[in-house]
């Protein structure tokens, strides 16, 4: 099957600045695909390249198998939902929705029929004559989606469309977006810096940092089997312990850290002597008696969040650690000031090369 969107060694440079470096990937038809990364990581540039506003300096973008070189954004079967939505203030809601059909030469009465159908889809029936500045943030959001869907794109591109919304509405819109995607069945490419958004909605996620795609996979894979230090630290909460690989045997390895030698899964088959980082999820750590665990620390506080309690500790070298304690066990957490030991199962900790990692 032809992929909906394929990037083939795409690099994008502005002068001496490299925004995207050698990106290659295939997105399947009907997939909900996200690009996740901090601001400035190149994800928006990549989206603008797919929609045709930026020409790649190297490499090829294919949409539905067709090479997109030299094809302008107004000729591509994509529709983009802008971060600020970019609704046309000079047109009514209905005129906004069917603008793409108007420029394709569709007659007025036919257009209005489509507008009515789409207004029903986004639950704004009969509101086509309103002006854009009469709508709430959520309604604008839905108008922007309807406007993009009206042109029946093969791929819908979304550039952090929820960022302008109130937190509660944002969570509500996640399920609404997912639902719309299920109904129209086209490919969605979603850009966000919010891992919660990416993890809840996406079939697959590409994590980006400084222009480089770090890893592509579903949420579970990224969380449980990160391939780079950046992915391990960016997706989900984690404890980071830096050091050098001391011994590497089979699946496991031992890292010499400030806390002493600690073992973990050697996911990238590092040789002994190489700089490494050991990542342990807060839920993988358990509190035990001082001196009993692999790591020692002093409790400085705890935050109760209902089903889980986050306990913060300071290790002997001054580094901070977090432990998640579930349900009833939280009652047994000692008071701040108490010395404790920490244990974990080595196969739940992961050792990754520290090379290229710059985020503290």
């Amino acid at each position: 099957m032809t992929s909906a969107v394929a990037l083939d060694h795409v690099s994008i440079r502005f002068g001496s600045f490299t925004a995207v470096d050698d990106a290659s990937l295939d997105i399947a038809p009907g997939e909900f695909f996200s690009f996740l990364g901090p601001s400035g990581c190149g994800k928006t540039t990549l989206l603008r390249t797919i929609s045709g506003f930026v020409e790649p300096s190297e490499g090829v973008v294919r949409i539905d198998g067709k090479d997109m070189r030299g094809i302008g954004s107004n000729q591509r079967p994509t529709a983009l939902i802008f971060q600020n939505l970019a609704l046309f203030p000079m047109m009514s809601v209905a005129e906004n929705i069917v603008y793409g059909l108007r420029v394709r030469g569709m007659g007025k009465s036919e257009r209005m029929k489509v507008a009515d159908r789409l207004l029903d889809l986004i639950a704004l029936p009969g509101q086509g004559n309103k002006r854009i500045d009469e709508l709430s943030g959520g309604q604008k959001q839905r108008v922007a989606i309807a406007r993009a869907l009206a042109v029946e794109p093969k791929v819908l591109l979304l550039d952090e469309p929820l960022s302008a919304l109130d937190l509660k509405l944002r969570q509500h819109m996640r399920s609404e977006l997912k639902e719309i995607q299920r109904r129209v069945g086209i490919t969605f490419i979603y850009i966000t810096h919010d891992q919660g958004e990416a993890l809840t909605m996406s079939d697959r996620i590409a994590v980006m940092d400084r222009g480089v795609i770090q890893q592509i996979g579903d949420g579970r894979t990224l969380y449980n089997h990160p391939r780079t230090a950046f992915v391990a630290s960016f997706v989900g909460e984690t404890n980071i312990l830096a050091g050098k690989v001391a011994t590497a045997e089979g699946e496991l390895a031992e890292v010499a850290t400030a806390h002493g030698p600690l073992s973990g899964a050697n996911a990238r088959k590092l040789m002994s002597g190489s700089d490494a980082m050991l990542f342990i999820r807060p839920e993988s750590l358990r509190l035990t008696a001082p001196g009993a665990g692999a790591i020692r620390g002093t409790i400085v506080g705890s935050a109760f969040e209902g089903h889980v309690t986050h306990v913060s500790l300071v290790a002997a070298d001054g580094s901070k650690l977090t432990v998640s304690v579930n349900g009833e066990a939280a009652r047994l957490v000692p008071e701040p000031g108490a010395e404790v030991g920490l244990v974990y199962r080595p196969e739940e900790a992961i050792i990754l090369p520290s090379e290229g990692y710059a985020h503290a």
Partner: protein, 339 residues
């Protein structure tokens, strides 16, 4: 030098400037750093790109640059009947400028006193009127920008603009009614017994100067107001708290802040006053001297266009010198005042 050379130069200069623009654009397109960016035509689409180039090209070349160049060219040519233009006698000459200085194209024995005095008087009076307008406007502009409440400000704005809906000539006419020998000022003065004969304000140029000061007041007012409006009120408060006397606040805080406004207001008022034609025609007495009517007469009384062009160029140079002088004085760039 024969005039045909000038004709070539006039067209070659804009062509070279256009070529420079084109070269800059072409070099940019070839620069690999700009590979992802679109060119002018791609960015606008050819219908809009065509519209932009034709509209801006016609405007800048045929409405701004070439007319000015032709005027400069003409000012250096001898007066010849049209059939002889470009003919064997059409050589460049300084005759027209010589006439301005000496009142003759051949003799340099005597100065052209009338024209020189008119020119000097026009420039000096324009400078004086510019300064006067600044003095008149500054307190009002400061009041509007820093003291007046919004409602009063709106009212004052409206009242400032309203008189300028009447056109320039009629405004001058109003002053003529005011100052004429049977006008209201003379009537009042005579009725009060201060004078027994009407004063000829027109001949004494009082009406002219009052009318000129009035004519372009608005330009100075808005330039000053816009500049003072951006002055931070806290700065004035702070200075006052520190015990600065009122004149100190104006001399060292408000006026330095308003520099760009003063410069742009002065430039406009000077240019409009020195170039004004309506007020001198309507308010000038029979012996009043002003430069623009003299320029006008070169064209439509003496029918000596070459000389008229030279006179116009002299006026233009005076204005440019004034603008540059103001910029120099206030240490500003052109973009800061031309708004």
């Amino acid at each position: 030098m024969h005039s045909s050379i000038g004709q070539v130069v006039i067209y070659v200069i804009p062509a070279m400037v256009l070529a420079w623009f084109g070269w800059l654009a072409w070099r940019d397109r070839r620069d690999p750093a700009n590979a992802g960016r679109q060119g002018f035509v791609a960015r606008n689409g050819w219908p809009v790109a065509g519209f932009l180039v034709i509209a801006v090209g016609f405007w800048t070349i045929f409405m701004i640059v070439l007319p000015l160049f032709s005027m400069i060219d003409l000012s250096f040519r001898p007066k010849l009947p049209p059939p002889q233009w470009g003919g064997p006698k059409d050589f460049y000459t300084l005759d027209n400028y010589r006439y301005f200085l000496f009142g003759s194209t051949t003799s340099t024995a005597a100065w052209n006193v009338t024209h020189l005095t008119a020119f000097a008087l026009t420039i000096l009076t324009s400078i004086a009127i510019t300064a006067l307008d600044f003095v008149i406007c500054y307190p009002i502009a400061y009041y509007m920008a820093k003291v007046a409440r919004p409602n009063r400000l709106r009212l004052m704005m409206l009242m400032l603009i309203a008189p300028y809906w009447v056109n320039e000539i009629l405004r001058a006419f109003a002053f003529r009614i005011l100052f004429s020998s049977q006008g209201i000022i003379n009537n009042v003065l005579m009725a009060s017994g201060l004078i027994d004969q009407p004063v000829d304000f027109l001949a004494a140029d009082v009406a002219l100067y009052a009318g000129l000061a009035y004519a372009y007041l608005l330009m100075m007012m808005f330039a000053l107001y816009n500049a003072l409006d951006t002055l931070d009120g806290n700065l004035i408060e702070a200075a006052r708290d520190l015990g600065a006397p009122w004149w100190h606040i104006h001399a060292f805080i408000a006026i330095p802040h308003a520099k760009p406004g003063i410069a742009s207001g002065s430039t406009l008022v000077f240019m409009l006053t020195a170039g004004s034609l309506a007020a001198p025609l309507v308010l000038g007495g029979p012996r009043s001297l002003w430069f623009t009517p003299i320029v006008y007469d070169r064209f439509y009384q003496a029918f000596n266009w070459q000389q008229g062009a030279a006179y116009a160029l002299i006026l233009l140079v005076a204005c440019v010198v004034f603008v540059l002088g103001v910029l120099r004085l206030f240490k500003l760039g052109l973009a800061e005042i031309a708004r």
